[in-house]
Symmetry: C2
Subunit: 145 residues, 2 copies
DNA sequence: GGTAAATTAATTGTGCACAATGCAATGAAT
DNA sequence: ATTCATTGCATTGTGCACAATTAATTTACC
């Protein structure tokens, strides 16, 4: 019986799953110094750009739901990096706003992308191709079915 | 100040993280019928090939440690898909062996790869390129530093 | 205006994922 | 043979990730 299709290395999901885990793991030693986890870091990335947004919009940006974000945002609030406040205009909405302490953290994060880039020694062309294919993959999966 | 490097979309990690999550999520409805999670599924993929191996070798194959595998394997054992038995030759080692029930499950899993392929409509060339780049990425990260 | 439907968060429960620790068994070196 | 380091697994604790449910509010419809 031909079961090549059921071999680990013949499924796209596996190298994708391993590469994502390995790359996220590369951030840990750098993020430890900022007292952030990886998911907290990408939440702060959005906040450094947007300053203020709703939990829903943050979830849309990060592809995460409230079950993940609510406790995560409470931890970031406890660290003093942001504030959560329920909207007056719409009581269902919670607005997230970065604090000055959270803004300051950005300076320490500036070196992270280059430190990561230096330990992911792919040539520029390969990197661009990988970006393109990953975004294409995310795109086609969002509309398929 | 130029902070393009700190934008979410300019970091490889983010599309990689999202694509992996999204693709793994695509398995869920298919795996629910086999009463398997994604991680349990890739463990079974190895067992369908190897029949029997140690926890350590499984961990090497899946890039997972005992803190993840020990409870996961106990759950698979409780479902009757495998047996865990401590090695007589070396008492530190635990051998994992697939059961007939676990073997049977393979038949039901055969359709999964094609079902996934059909909802990941990348052209063959793009798919091959993506494989190659992901394995390259995993390779360079394993030896870097 | 009153009811139904939709929206937004929060909560609960399960299962990874991994760091850190502990421990027993093994192997190596003297 | 005794010491010492290493190996393989288990345990504990923290933090995602997501399904399912609940609750509060808002919007749409008649």
């Amino acid at each position: 019986m031909n079961d090549d299709a059921l071999k680990l290395e013949n499924q796209l999901c596996f190298p994708l799953y391993v590469a994502a885990k390995d790359l996220v793991g590369r951030y840990k030693p750098l993020l430890d110094r900022l007292d952030l986890t990886y998911t907290q870091y990408i939440a702060m990335l959005v906040l450094w750009q947007e300053k203020s947004l709703t939990v829903k919009d943050l979830g849309d940006a990060l592809h995460l739901d409230s079950g993940t974000l609510t406790p995560l945002l409470k931890r970031l609030e406890a660290k003093g990096y942001l504030e959560r406040r329920r909207s007056l205009a719409d009581e269902r909405v919670v607005n997230i706003t970065i604090t000055p302490t959270g803004e300051d953290l950005k300076q320490e994060a500036l070196e992270i992308p280059e430190r990561i880039a230096s330990c992911v020694p792919l040539e520029h062309e390969d990197l661009q191709t990988l970006y393109r294919l990953l975004y294409k993959l995310i795109g086609v999966m969002n509309c398929a079915d």
